[in-house]
């Protein structure tokens, strides 16, 4: 595959950047995320997560099932802050 392929569409991270970090010893999703912002954007890793895990698995010989993904944190999809504020205020008093 072309190494300039974008793996993370939220933060424009390429396959080359991922492979370079793996070769430097950053072999968990969490470490790669923190150095590249992969999985930190609006998709929260829903698009790129499996692709990164596949690269780690291929490079380290582990099975994808044995690798850990980042913690799933709220919200599930992006929500405008003022909508949350308005809803919260409605339920007060």
């Amino acid at each position: 595959m072309d190494e300039n392929t974008i793996i993370c569409r939220c933060s424009d991270v390429t396959l080359k950047e991922i492979r370079e970090l793996i070769s430097q010893g950053y072999v968990t999703y969490d470490e790669i995320k923190r150095l590249t912002r992969i999985g930190m954007g609006p998709c929260q890793g829903k698009t790129c997560g499996q692709l990164v895990l596949r690269e780690i698995a291929a490079a380290t010989g582990q099975s994808i099932a044995d690798l850990s993904f980042h913690n799933i944190r709220p919200p599930v999809v992006g929500v405008k802050l003022h909508l949350i504020a308005e809803e919260a205020e409605k339920h007060e008093d």
Binding site: S11, L35, G41, P42, R73, G78, L81, E87, A88
Partner: protein, 382 residues
Amino acid sequence: MKTKADIVIIGAGISGCSIAYNLAKRGAKNIVVIEKSFICSGSTGACGAGFRMQWGTEMNCRMSKFSTEFFENANDILEYDGDIELRQSGYLMIANTEKELAQFKKNIEVQHACGIPSRMVSLDEAKEIVPHLNTDILSGAAYCGKDGFLNPHKTTDAYYKAAKRLGVEFYTYTEVTGIRVENGRIMGVETNKGNIETRIVVNAANGWAQGLAKLVGVELPLYSERHQILVTEPVEPMQDPMVMAFNLNLYVQQTPHGSFIMGRSDAGEPRDLRITSSWHFLEEMAKTIDKVLPAIGKLRVVRQWAGLYNMSPDRQPIYDKVDGIEGFYVACGFSGHGFMFGPVTGTVMAEMILGLEPTIDASRLRLSRFAEGNLFTEPSVV
């Protein structure tokens, strides 16, 4: 894994990595850093990514000035192949009561005595600096243009790589299970991957520091509590400085990447090691931002997370060796600002451990100050 080391540091956040680097740079050899997860996986990696010199105690002002001057040149000094993303676009501290404003004025006197270029600004000027700020609810503001943003993951990575090049060994996914003490002296560290003989142990575990100290029967006057943060989708640049408020309970900054990172404190958090996310925080944060900076309320939150503050009684760190256990050092109790104090932490601890003349006098941050009743509480912490 090595079975012998001269110095074992526990914790590979900014503090542990900076201590390791500073020791190695001063010629110490045979240094090991033990981390139960990966590098920067704890409090540093969950922090708000800001650094400031606008403090209320002279000690914090001096330490943050020292650290800021290091950050300004850190890419070069640490010979980093990446970028720590330093951006000195200021901190705007906002007050909504006369009492808080008076505190800002007092703080600025302390800051000026330390050579920090902070100043009071009018609400008109505050509005020029941050056009979407709702100044109707404010009484005044203070500003320092040399405060700013710094990427915690990259900064810790820069220290980690520099320390590694100087020969420091890092054992990640390795958990300390015991610390061996004989006749009041450190003899070794036990981990789930093997034991290491050593005469010096440095506790740089922040949120886990008091638990670690208990392994050798030492009670540190610290507790840990969850502090939550959220981040929005990235947008075009629209806010230069961090906006911070103690009474309104808020800090919010646009990162160079474009997202906004914001947090606030929650009263009544349990004193434990939980870092789960709560709906309550999301609601309170959304209400605060909508009131103070309504334009940011139009953005989507994409993730919330949490990290641990390791709180000391006067909200300032402890840098010391522990009486009664020779070779046991502590650098903890950062109370939410350990990341931005990384450079001074490494320098103070390395000089203390190696018996060198201190570059900066941090003796006020000794452990015994609590028993002596010699506290000097930092007033300006979110």
